[in-house]
């Protein structure tokens, strides 16, 4: 565990939304650090601010107040282009559903991120096939997302998230659209990646299957951290 060198930090983060002149406070006074190797879940009921916090920590949104630091760098000081580059090189994402680009095959979805990074064709092809094998989808590289089951699609999303060799993978309700058997397979896969490759995961989920596997659970309620359970890294 390397708690002294957190990958992601939220420091005094507050997020408010304004809709038709009405301000809604989504998060307030959030302080959270995620260190390398963690398998942590942001938990809490709907509307507690899990996804909002995950989006802020994933550089998809900017806080109203406070700082998000990625490898010590304050994301608030970066331009949109620099934020894109940080997402491309340091962050991996898995979303609830419809994660993949439907006009690309499974392998092309994985390669796309590497292509944006400038990885040479041969290298990215080889790595895409290796990643597909690592998520038990060997031989399905040419399938389009619509030709695959929900579980297979999510495993491709995991492979894509790993493709850029990110510092951390952020997963927003990754099991929400999966049956429990498929969800368990997916979570066990992520857990194995966390153990074997020290891949850091930060989840947003209220799925008990996710929460019982997370080593640390950060419970949110009404936009504030209610309690933290468990330890940190493997």
């Amino acid at each position: 565990m390397t708690e002294t060198t957190p990958i992601l930090q939220a420091i005094g983060v507050r997020k408010t939304y304004e809709t038709r002149g009405v301000e809604t406070q989504a998060l307030s006074e959030i302080d959270l650090s995620v260190a390398e190797g963690e398998f942590t879940a942001l938990a809490g009921p709907s509307g507690s601010g899990k996804t909002t916090l995950l989006n802020l920590m994933g550089a998809l949104d900017i806080p109203t107040q406070g700082e998000i630091r990625l490898d010590g760098e304050n994301l608030g000081n970066l331009t949109p282009a620099e934020l894109s580059r940080r997402r491309l090189h340091k962050l991996g994402f898995i979303f609830q559903a419809y994660n993949l680009i439907p006009v690309f095959s499974a392998a092309e979805n994985i390669e796309f991120v590497m292509e944006l990074q400038g990885v040479p064709h041969e290298e990215r092809r080889t790595r895409a096939l290796e990643l597909l094998e690592s998520v038990d989808l060997a031989g399905l590289g040419d399938k389009r997302p619509l030709e695959m089951s929900g579980g297979q699609q999510q495993r491709v999303a995991v492979a894509r998230a790993l493709a850029s060799r990110p510092r951390i993978i952020l997963a927003d309700e990754p099991t929400a659209n999966l049956d429990s058997k498929t969800a368990i397979r997916l979570l066990d896969l992520m857990l194995e990646l966390n153990r074997s490759q020290t891949t850091t995961f930060l989840f947003s989920s209220h799925d008990p299957l996710v929460l019982e596997r997370a080593r640390r659970r950060v419970w949110l309620r009404d936009g504030v951290i209610d309690r933290v359970e468990g330890g940190a890294a493997a």
């Binding site: 989006n55 491309l88 979303f95 419809y98 439907p102 796309f112 292509e115 944006l116």
Partner: protein, 404 residues
């Protein structure tokens, strides 16, 4: 960038019906415009070609001032010997012919008509003019002391081949001079103006009539092509500095203006059509963006920059337009191939003849007919993509990934 182009190409193909509608609209619009312009160009080219082949040639050599005021007193001495020497030294000239050109009055038993009188060397003239090949009655100077006139003029005079008519002119000294000649041939060219108001006679009787001795009015020159004569003109002008060496479009500026107006009209027409199409393209792209908000959010989340996102939308617009261009050009070329034997316009023969055109129009496409619409279409595609691209780039990734 290749990944963005590939993604754009796949996106173009994800809704074939919608893409098909836009491609069809671009293709039909382009093909229709191209075909109209090809027919119109064909008419204009024929008008110019007929003017060149009946009267103007590509170049004419005159004494200084002749073009401004075509006086019979402005002539080339010694049958144009120095000019002919310069012509013979010039490789860019195919054929040439000397002419005497003046005004006169032709009188038949029933009528008198003011005419242009052109004295020609029949053999040389046959190489530069289509008149010899346009005889519909009689012959082309196959007997001595004959004149050849147009069908329209023959009708006005009420004469036929073999009839005697009197040709009166003002000679070089300013005296009235006349001679009686028989009609040897009647011609019909695509130029109603020529047919109605011109008589041709041989060079020697014309010289006698105008009292010009060994002098001629002009030498008409035909080069290898309209464009190639520019250099020939420059070299002849240098060799004959005291002569007017003028091109067909300088001799008939109206024709040149018509061609120039036609080019501008074509550009304007393409612009109007493609601007109208741009709304269709923008609409389709906007629909495509709205349908893919979540997907765009995912793309932004995995690290696609906003610049590349804009490039993707522009690529989609350009690809759809390019497909339309290819289909449009193919459609137009197929239609033109089907019309390669010309379009019969004999229903409007009289009107066309008054503009110097024949009754069979051959559509003509120039390189500009491909480059102008391609340029305009691609610019339009760029403009049409601006709005959808702006819409896409303004999407906030956090909201877009949650979009239903």
């Amino acid at each position: 960038m290749l990944s963005v182009i590939r993604l754009a190409w796949r996106n173009v193909g994800r809704n074939p019906r919608r893409t098909g509608v836009v491609v069809t609209a671009v293709a039909v619009g382009l093909a229709g415009t191209l075909l109209s312009m090809a027919i119109f160009s064909g008419m204009m080219f024929q008008m110019v070609d007929n003017a060149i082949k009946t009267d103007l040639g590509h170049l004419q050599i005159h004494a200084q001032g002749f073009n401004k005021d075509p006086e019979i007193g402005l002539f080339l001495e010694d049958k144009g010997a120095p000019e002919i020497e310069a012509i013979q030294a010039e490789a860019g000239i195919q054929n040439w012919a000397p002419r005497i050109r003046g005004e006169g009055l032709v009188t038949s038993p029933s009528s008198s008509v003011g005419v242009r009188v052109i004295g020609v060397d029949p053999d040389a003239e046959a190489q530069v003019s289509m008149v010899s090949g346009s005889i519909v009655q009689g012959g082309y100077f196959d007997q001595k002391r004959r004149l050849v006139l147009g069908e329209g003029l023959a009708r006005r005079l009420g004469t036929e081949v073999g009839d005697k008519i009197v040709l009166s002119v003002q000679d070089l000294e300013g005296d009235m001079n006349g001679t009686a000649l028989r009609v040897g041939g009647i011609f019909r060219t695509p130029s109603a103006e020529l047919d109605r108001s011109t008589v041709f006679l041989e060079l020697a009787p014309a010289a006698d009539l105008f009292g010009m001795g060994d002098s001629i009015s002009e030498i008409v020159i035909v080069g290898h092509s309209r464009d190639a004569v520019l250099e020939t003109q420059a070299r002849l002008s240098a060799a004959l500095p005291d002569r007017e060496i003028e091109r067909w479009d300088e001799l008939q500026p109206l024709l040149a203006s018509i061609l120039s107006v036609m080019d501008q009209m074509a550009s304007g027409l393409y612009l109007i059509i493609f601007v109208a199409m741009s709304f269709g393209i923008a609409n389709v792209l906007l629909m495509a963006i709205y349908e893919r908000i979540r997907e765009i959010g995912i793309l932004l989340a995995v690290g696609l920059s906003r610049g590349r996102l804009v490039a993707m939308v522009i690529c989609e617009s350009i690809l759809v337009t390019l497909l339309g261009l290819v289909a449009g050009f193919t459609l137009a070329l197929l239609a033109l191939f089907a019309l390669s034997d010309g379009i019969d316009m004999s229903l409007w023969a009289e009107s066309l003849a008054s503009f110097g055109m024949g009754t069979r129009i051959f559509p003509v496409l120039t390189p500009a007919d491909f480059t102008i619409p391609t340029t305009v279409a691609l610019l339009t595609a760029l403009i049409a993509s601006a709005w959808p691209a702006l819409r896409a780039v303004r999407l906030r990734p956090a909201e877009a990934v949650r979009h239903d």
